[in-house]
Symmetry: C2
Subunit: 119 residues, 2 copies
């Protein structure tokens, strides 16, 4: 993942509406949802939703597939995993002492959640 991809994804998730849409579609998994269904679930005018779906699709956080006269959207979970990996590396590579999850991964059983107290 390069920095342009990352900023593009962050930009996509920086709107409340888009984050709502993405989280909704994550819950739906492979089933996904068609545009109108998303619009009625989240109470967003179709025109506006279309604007946000376009942004999410352009950053590849959503995939879209035509299904008759419907457009079915699905969350791109592998891309989100790539983003999580990128963030984990960015934050912990230089300073693994701050990253209990990574420590846990390598040691498997020596867990201290001290750094999370401030969360």
């Amino acid at each position: 993942m390069n920095i342009n991809t990352a900023t593009s994804i962050f930009e996509s998730l920086s709107s409340g509406i888009r984050l709502d849409v993405f989280r909704l579609l994550v819950k739906k998994g492979l089933e996904g949802m068609v545009a109108g269904e998303i619009a009625s679930t989240l109470n967003i005018p179709p025109t506006n939703l279309s604007f946000h779906l376009k942004a999410l699709t352009h950053s590849h956080l959503l995939s879209v597939e035509q299904e008759g006269r419907f457009q079915r959207y699905r969350a791109n979970i592998p891309l989100m995993q790539t983003l999580i990996t990128y963030l984990t590396e960015e934050c912990c590579d230089g300073h693994p002492e701050h990253c209990p999850d990574l420590q846990m991964k390598t040691k498997c059983g020596d867990m201290t959640f001290e750094t999370q107290k401030s969360l």
Copy 2:
């Protein structure tokens, strides 16, 4: 972590300049950097950098401490960890089959991670 905090962080990281600043400060760890040092390192006019530092500080991704006539900025790594946890849960709660990391975690000493659900 609630959705407003998340969107605020995403908004902060949606600018190339701000992501560069954050990544730079992550590398510096506890040492951090003063504003002028960041500006010269990344070749950003001080006025513009100040604008972005303010955004990053406001979303709590950076902390700032006065040091004589300098302002020393540091990355808030615990907050980034919280974000990573949030994203992981958002993406994997419903579909653990897509999340090898979480599967691995559950195999490591039977940790249920209840403490993280509330983040």
